[in-house]
Symmetry: C2
Subunit: 104 residues, 2 copies
């Protein structure tokens, strides 16, 4: 969880994810539009892979990366739980107020 959100907290890494939504890509393809050195991109990819957000296999001399939806779903679920929890709390509060509204 911590790793997933830390990974997505970086704008560059989110760009990488957004690119990978369109389909798998090699390290070079991912690096090309990114105005930074290739090793920098590598480090970002490693962070994403350690977090379980992407997976990559190397065949020949080219490493191909693809998205792993499980990681995204985990983060999404956590956010959803907190949000709906709070909204239900508000609902319950609303009911309580309405109930106590006309006590005569």
């Amino acid at each position: 969880m911590d790793q997933v959100l830390k990974a997505l907290a970086d704008g560059t890494r989110r760009e990488l994810v957004e690119r990978l939504v369109a389909g798998p890509a090699s390290v070079g393809e991912l690096a090309q539009p990114l105005d930074m050195s290739l090793p920098a991109v590598m480090q970002h990819l490693q962070v994403l892979e350690t977090a379980g957000l992407i997976r990559s296999e190397k065949v020949g001399r080219v490493r191909t990366c693809h998205l792993e939806p499980a990681g995204l779903r985990m983060a999404e679920d956590w956010l959803g739980r907190q949000r709906t929890g709070w909204e239900h709390h508000l609902d319950a509060l609303g009911d309580l107020l309405q109930e106590g509204d006309s006590p005569s």
Copy 2:
């Protein structure tokens, strides 16, 4: 977006959010279970508020904080878009493969 995910990337701040799901709380109440100094908690709260994840008003000498679901929902939506985007991509790919499967 960047601010929201950076804010949630920290474990302490996620604890604060989880606490606030149960309802509003004062700075002191939030700090009490957190084995760190009060200014540290303040800084975390400021990060959360700047990110739009919580809101707080000060009445008298006590500041009360409450959750703001909009921020959570924004992050949740982004994650959902990426994930479903990728899943649809996989579906389309599956269809393509199946279509080309028996070309005779």
